[in-house]
Symmetry: C2
Subunit: 150 residues, 2 copies
């Protein structure tokens, strides 16, 4: 884990992030990595939204992991702010290396430093390995996740 | 369902919203409805965040339901915007009246009109009735939901 760095993503990271999104059993069917302008436009929308933090993890200048955080102020739980984690991806060459755990620990620390009370995420039911990974990190599998496609 | 109206919440709605949050098996343990300034401060944070839409449903000037939407731009799914629904509550006097379904249909229409590709939510595993409710509305229970309390 030497020289591993996590930071806010910048525009030049977009191709590497899209590569990680597409290098995935589910993502392969959903992404169009050759349409870079589409993703750069999306990056600009994320960048301009103060509630978003798109993260990359890199080593020696190579992006190896990504995740997106959204900070949600709310009334429930006595005015708690929660963080939602979406689009967590680790390079397939790095699975089992501890990079994913390091990414999630960085995310938890970042959320704590921003005063969040809760970090939450959902994981596709067809990813039991990911579920074990999150439980090992201390996440509690307390909810059912629903999606409605428009 | 006559005279039912859904709209963006305003500061004077806060006591009614907090009442709905606390009038719930899980919420009763989590909320402090007497600490109104705490919730008004949280409301201001929600109001100032362009990515948030706190909704109330009312009839004859009485607030009977609430939900909070967060619009999340992102790179995944070809730059899709997703909406997260949190803190869905319907007055216990109105359960089974169709008000909850009307609220969720309003939410789905609002998300569609804003160009969202996906509406998603999580529901505590101890709420099987809620899960049936969401499935009946067309939500697909495709994910496991994890939380990490800070």
């Amino acid at each position: 884990m030497t020289d591993l760095q996590f930071r806010r993503a910048a525009l030049p990271d977009v191709p590497a992030i899209v590569g990680l999104l597409a290098d995935d059993r589910l993502g392969a069917q959903r992404e169009s990595p050759d349409d870079l302008p589409l993703y750069e436009k999306a990056f600009t929308r994320v960048e301009q939204d103060a509630g978003q933090l798109l993260v990359v993890g890199e080593r020696d200048g190579t992006v190896l992991a990504t995740a997106q955080l959204t900070f949600i102020p709310g009334l429930s739980r006595r005015g708690a702010t929660r963080a939602i984690v979406e689009a967590v991806r680790v390079s397939s060459t790095e699975r089992g290396s501890g990079l994913g755990s390091a990414l999630m620990r960085w995310i938890i620390d970042e959320c704590r430093s921003r005063g969040c009370h809760l970090v939450q995420l959902t994981s596709d039911l067809t990813r039991p390995d990911a579920h074990r990974f999150y439980r090992r990190l201390g996440f509690v599998q307390s909810h059912a996740g629903f999606k409605y496609e428009l």
